[in-house]
């Protein structure tokens, strides 16, 4: 019987693609989870007070 190395390469190549693809899916999900946690941590942090500085006490809009 001929060796059919092409079939052997196809079988092992397919397995490598499937297992590698599944591993990459797990890595992607972990990254998404890390990003979600970081986003939540940022949202739950109290505002620093410097993001929107108040105008001076004597400042008025031009039409007032």
């Amino acid at each position: 019987m001929p060796d059919n190395w092409g079939f052997v390469a196809a079988a092992y190549g397919l397995a490598a693609v499937v297992f590698g693809g599944y591993w990459r899916r797990l890595v992607r999900k972990e990254r998404e989870l890390t990003a979600l946690r970081a986003d939540r941590a940022n949202r739950s942090r109290p505002p620093s007070g410097t993001a929107h500085p108040r105008p001076d006490a004597g400042w008025r809009a031009p039409l007032q």
């Binding site: 059919n4 190395w5 052997v8 499937v18 972990e30 989870l33």
Partner: protein, 215 residues
């Protein structure tokens, strides 16, 4: 721990490939195409093991309602489905040069396809039901029913006339396999078992993180 398991799996796969291609001899009847066996057979054993873990974890979840058990069942059944998919695909690739066909509806192939479709349905069900607790309950029942079919797959080659050969190893009595081929098969089984354990542990960790984020 999970990272160590991952590196161990990578190392074991390299050793497995070395034994399957370097140590094991060319098979006399089939030639080198028989080397697909070192992937095809361990893949289904790992799938059986993963589904057994999924079965036990589903029973525990139904009895105790522990979310960790549900997550383990989910991870194990998902990983088992991946390995079973590899088993079916590599079996088709092996079947073409040896049987002359990619697929035939004999008892072994049909029963394994039924189990594969049942676990695909399991994964779809997990996403389809919005109520998390209800989805977990339905999925646990389906995992138990699907896993109960595994003995049917294994014994199908004895109960019906099939093109697929009977088991060479998981059977009563001594194996007829030459020791060096048996050793290569077991080394590759060990490698894929470690890979399966790594995938299950990592998937369960992701599921735990997702549950925590949703809470």
């Amino acid at each position: 721990m999970v990272t160590v398991l991952g590196w161990l799996a990578a190392l074991a796969i390299v050793v497995g490939l070395a034994t399957g291609f370097g140590m094991a001899p060319r098979e006399v009847t089939q030639g080198n195409v028989q080397r697909i066996m070192y992937l095809h057979v361990p893949a289904v054993w790992v799938a059986y093991l993963a589904f057994t873990v999924g079965f036990v974890a589903s029973v525990v979840y139904l009895a105790r309602r522990r979310e960790a058990a549900d997550r383990l069942a989910h991870a194990a059944c998902e990983v088992g489905t991946v390995f079973l998919g590899v088993n079916i695909a590599t079996g088709a690739i092996w079947g073409k040069p040896t049987w002359g066909t990619w697929w035939t509806w004999d008892a072994r192939l049909t029963s394994v396809a039924v189990v594969f479709v049942m676990f695909l349905a399991y994964l779809l069900l997990r996403q389809a039901v919005e109520d998390r607790e209800r989805g977990a309950r339905y999925a646990a029942v389906l995992a138990i029913v699907a896993a109960l079919n595994i003995p049917l797959v294994h014994f199908s080659v004895y109960w019906w006339r099939t093109l697929h050969q009977p088991p060479s190893l998981l059977k009563p009595g001594a194996s007829a396999m030459p020791p060096i081929i048996l050793a290569a098969l077991l080394v590759n089984f060990g490698a894929l078992a470690i890979l399966g354990a790594y995938f299950i542990a990592r998937r369960a960790r992701v599921l735990a993180g997702e549950a925590e984020a949703m809470a």
